[in-house]
């Protein structure tokens, strides 16, 4: 185990239900989603005075437009936190959320802070283009062969992984169907209840018939992505989305989504002072680089690295939240590291539950720490691949 001054503990973790792109949260601003997540996580531990929060670190993969202007600071102010609390937005693409958790934990582990909020927020509905509102690639990328793949779309990298790791179309589709089935079963069993903070949504829409603004109000309670009618036959009909003779389709890729989550991280001193029972101990975090053209394989490098850092054996990890950016890369990671499929995404993954980019790491941290509690398991991991070729892995130890 690496040297540190003290441990960091998660005492609350919550998230909004994840919405499909242009779905139930399609009109909800990312700073509003973030504010709701922060308000909800603070409400779960009322003894903690929000003024004690040293900093709010928020992951976001496209921090511009509605989620620009340092969305962290805006979100915490909208949440009603005192203006003495600062906020910072961090970006490591799809790992931004778990990166935020690691950075918050590190402030505590170094003794610089006693109370931190880590969060993530992302709207893929309000962002017009998946690469941001103004695409502006560096021409130098095309000057060197080794940099050329920076220009690859994520789907294309999944095709490269599928080809190199020989992941068949059938296997990808079967994996995708299983993701939907697990997610639907988990929703039916109420397994997400503990982690979700339902969100009251108000949409103001023009009614052209009456000439009035129609105010639509509803409570978003459940994840919107899972399809109970997903089947191999249906998925087999979809055409490859990224390559003429490819195997990666819209059906075996993660869904584009909207979502936000927040995690309250504290020191041992705070646990004792307020007699708090933590959900989990933050046990370590690692990130590693791989070739951009096979970015999906990133967790293969990050997972062993964090395990070594924490002194934990892979077999001792009971639960892997492995982000399903694409079935192809998830399967390649599982097969390469020989991860036990029964331990990977027992409640389904991003193919069913959605992938709100920079929020996902925080969202799945909430899923993991509550899941470990419910199943009385010990070690769990949140891991994912990252665009331009990286992998991240955060390790958590359940405390109850």
């Amino acid at each position: 185990m690496s040297k540190q001054i003290q441990d960091a503990y998660i005492i609350a973790a919550t998230r909004l239900p994840v919405g499909r792109r242009k779905g139930m949260l399609g009109h909800v601003r990312p700073d509003d989603m973030l504010a709701h997540a922060i308000t909800s996580v603070l409400a779960q531990v009322p003894v903690i005075d929000p003024a004690l929060v040293e900093d709010v670190i928020v992951g976001c993969a496209m921090p511009e437009a509605e989620q620009g202007m340092n969305v962290a600071r805006i979100g915490l102010l909208l949440a009603g936190m005192p203006n003495t609390v600062p906020g910072v937005t961090v970006n490591r693409f799809c790992a931004s959320g778990v990166q935020a958790v690691a950075m918050a934990a590190d402030r505590i582990r170094l003794g610089e802070a006693e109370v931190m909020i880590a969060a993530g927020t992302e709207t893929m509905s309000l962002m017009n283009q998946i690469m941001g509102n103004k695409i502006a690639l560096n021409p130098a990328i095309f000057e060197k062969d080794e940099n050329y793949a920076i220009a690859f779309g994520m789907g294309l990298t999944a095709e490269k992984v599928a080809a190199q790791w020989k992941i068949s179309r059938d296997d990808q589709d079967a994996f995708a169907v299983a993701s939907h089935q697990k997610a639907c079963a988990a929703i039916a069993a109420g397994h997400f209840k503990a982690e979700i903070s339902p969100c009251a949504v108000t949409a103001r829409l023009p009614n052209l018939q009456t000439g009035e603004v129609q105010v639509k109000e509803f409570l978003a309670e459940n994840d919107e992505g899972p399809r109970s009618d997903s089947s191999i036959e249906r998925l087999a009909r979809l055409r490859p989305a990224f390559a003429a003779r490819g195997s990666v389709t819209a059906g075996n890729s993660s869904q584009m989504s909207d979502g936000a989550a927040a995690v309250l991280v504290v020191s041992e001193k705070i646990l004792k002072q307020f007699k708090l029972q933590p959900l989990a101990r933050f046990a370590g975090f690692a990130v590693a680089g791989v070739a951009p053209e096979i970015m999906g394989i990133g967790p293969v490098e990050a997972i062993p690295r964090v395990l070594k850092q924490a002194g934990v054996h892979q077999d001792d990890v009971d639960w892997f939240e492995l982000n399903e950016a694409f079935a192809a890369q998830a399967l390649a990671v599982m097969r390469t590291l020989e991860l036990d499929p029964a331990k990977v995404n027992p409640l389904g993954g991003a193919i069913a539950l959605g992938h709100p980019l920079g929020a996902t790491g925080a969202v799945r941290t909430a899923t993991l720490v509550h899941g470990l509690q419910r199943t009385r398991q010990r070690y769990g991991m949140v891991t994912m691949c990252i665009g331009t070729g990286m992998g991240a892995a955060g390790l958590f130890e359940s405390m109850r």
Partner: protein
Amino acid sequence: MSNFIVRRAAVLGAGVMGAQIAAHLANAEVPVLLFDLPANEGDANEIVNRAIGALRKLEPSPLASKDRVAYIDAANYSQHLEQLRDCDLIIEAIAEKTEWKDDLYRQIAPFIAPDAIIASNTSGLSINRLSEGLPEFLRSRFCGIHFFNPPRYMHLVELIATQATDPALLDNLESWLVSRLGKGIVRARDTPNFVANRVGVFSILAVMHHTERLGLGFDVVDALTGPLIGRPKSATYRTADVVGLDTLAHVIKTMQDSLPDDPWHGYYAVPAWLAALIGKGALGQKTRCGIFRKDGRAIKVLDLAAQDYRETAAEIDPEVLAILKNRDPAEKFAQLRASGHPQAQFLWAIFRDIFHYAAFHLAEIADNARDLDFAMRWGFGWAQGPFESWQAAGWQAIAAAVKADVDAGQAMSPAALPGWVFGQVAEKGVHTPQGSYSASADAFQPRSVLPAYQRQIFPERVLSEAAVSGATVWENDGVRLWTLPQLDDGIAIVSIKTRNHTLGREVIVGLQEAVARAEAGYRGLVLWHEAPFAFGANLKEVSEAIAAGQFELLEKYVAEFQNTSMALKYATVPVVAAVQGMALGGGCEFLMHAAKRIIALESYIGLVEAGVGLIPAGGGCKEFAIRAAQHAAKTAGNDPFEFIQPVFMTVAMATVSKSGAQARELGFAVDSDKIVFNANELLYVALREARGLAEAGYYPRLSPRQIKVAGRTGIANCEMMLVNMMEGGMISAHDYAVAKAAATALCGGDVETGSLVDEQWLLSIERQLFVELLKNEKTQQRIQHMLTTGKPLRN
């Protein structure tokens, strides 16, 4: 005279025809209420909503652009009849059952506005009989309006009056259908199946009869009755499959039931083999099986003898083919008749019987021979109507041959040819410069003089009618500069003369000369000729120069091309481009440089240079770069790339618009350009537009000097898209190279993002990249392939 206005229309019945008629009204900027029965459960408009949804998926699209669908409002007879009161035109297009139509008319009668027109799209029921289903006060405003499928693309609409129809109302409706919807109108008598279907269905029955008699295969007959004799590619049996064999049987049944005294009545029956197919549910294209069947990629044909489907093997006998290639129609028909080959006998027989049938029934079904011929051209896609074919081959010779066959009992009916065939038409035929023969009036009838037709300077002509020639001002081998003194002698017209209106050297210098002469002596210039607008640069000239290694010459050639574009753009008089049909490559670039575009709805416009491994270099990329800078300047971000991105894909993928309206969306035209629905009106509208611009004090804008370009970052952004397409196996390495060149031209070259350039800079980039690509072996292969096969090569 009060104006005839259709502010809103209703279509009753959201079947295939009703929905597509609604779509075409929406194309013409007429909002439509589309009615059908209320659904039994769920959304009451479910039936109509489904039909509207299906419109988006149909190919070829009934919608001129996707957003048109928003102007079709779903309605049902239970909830929305009240809204009929706002409709000026109501078209009923429900199933062909008189009782159902009677019921519907009763239901809607109280909701019809006092001046509204109500018209039935029946394809065969008696209009007078349907009229009786309406209360008396509505009957003067009722008529038949028979569209053909698909209604956007089929030019023909048959208008049928009842005894009670107000003639003035019908005239107004005709003018409106011609100008606003772009249709060709034939006034039909109220006889079963009207004109086109009466003759067209008989033609199918005659083909079926002679196929069986001579033991020919369906595939052979389709090869014989397609383009070789001036009929559509789908010929006879493939057309039947497309129409639906059950629908065809239904139309035949109408003739069988309603024409008991017709001399050909014995043939108005569904052949046993056809009935058997229908019985088995093999209804043609909609069931993927009919006379033809698609087996994977292969199309198989029904073999009656084997009672099974076999590979198609449509072989036309060389002797018959040689006869068909004979350009002299008189010799052709004589040879077909004289030949002993079954294929030749078949062809003579089907023509003979259609001539016989058309002549016998002319007096009863149509006002004159012109209407009958137009009905077949516009409704069935024949290049010539039966009377035109007859007359072209020599009226008297054909008349004698038909008579001899009838007398010998070889024709399908023993009915004698009517006397007029040997009377006053015998000398010159039915079509004369003074008019076409009316058998009912026994006179030659001139064309209609309704106001809509005054706008058609170049209407579609029947045999013997001459086009307006105008007064030539100047011409070379490429173009003719002329005027139409009777309309406006102050506006010059320049027309391209080359085959397919390709743009060779003579055209390029000719257009410059035309601009110079227009500037010197006229108030405006219209670029007009009949379709196609232009097929692009003359590749043969380009290919010859490449073979001779004359790349410097080629660069000068491109520069000359650009000079022509610039001459059109900066002419001191307004240049109006009147566009119809294909406008590809350089043709597209020329129209982009005009002061204004008048575009026929059916115009297919695109920069297709990528198909031959080149980029637009006649100023096309330059225009897009300028427009991107101008659009960007009006946005907060002022980023030209935002406006380059969509046009880059259009240019790189050689996208061609599927309508005039879509040409606006793709950026080849601008919002202020006019879409004209009837291509025959193009010249009239363009002349008026040029005159209007001139009278409003036209002057060209100065060439922009500070054009902000997307530069290197823009090129990199485009390259990112290309990398993904190439790595995904969607484009070749040469596609990549060509598209990157297009990106470079669109982004103003390899310069810093946001650099300011001028128009000549952009032209120079285009020109250099174009010539570089000409030197590329793969581009040369593409050009050769296009010249030899007419198709693009993806190498």
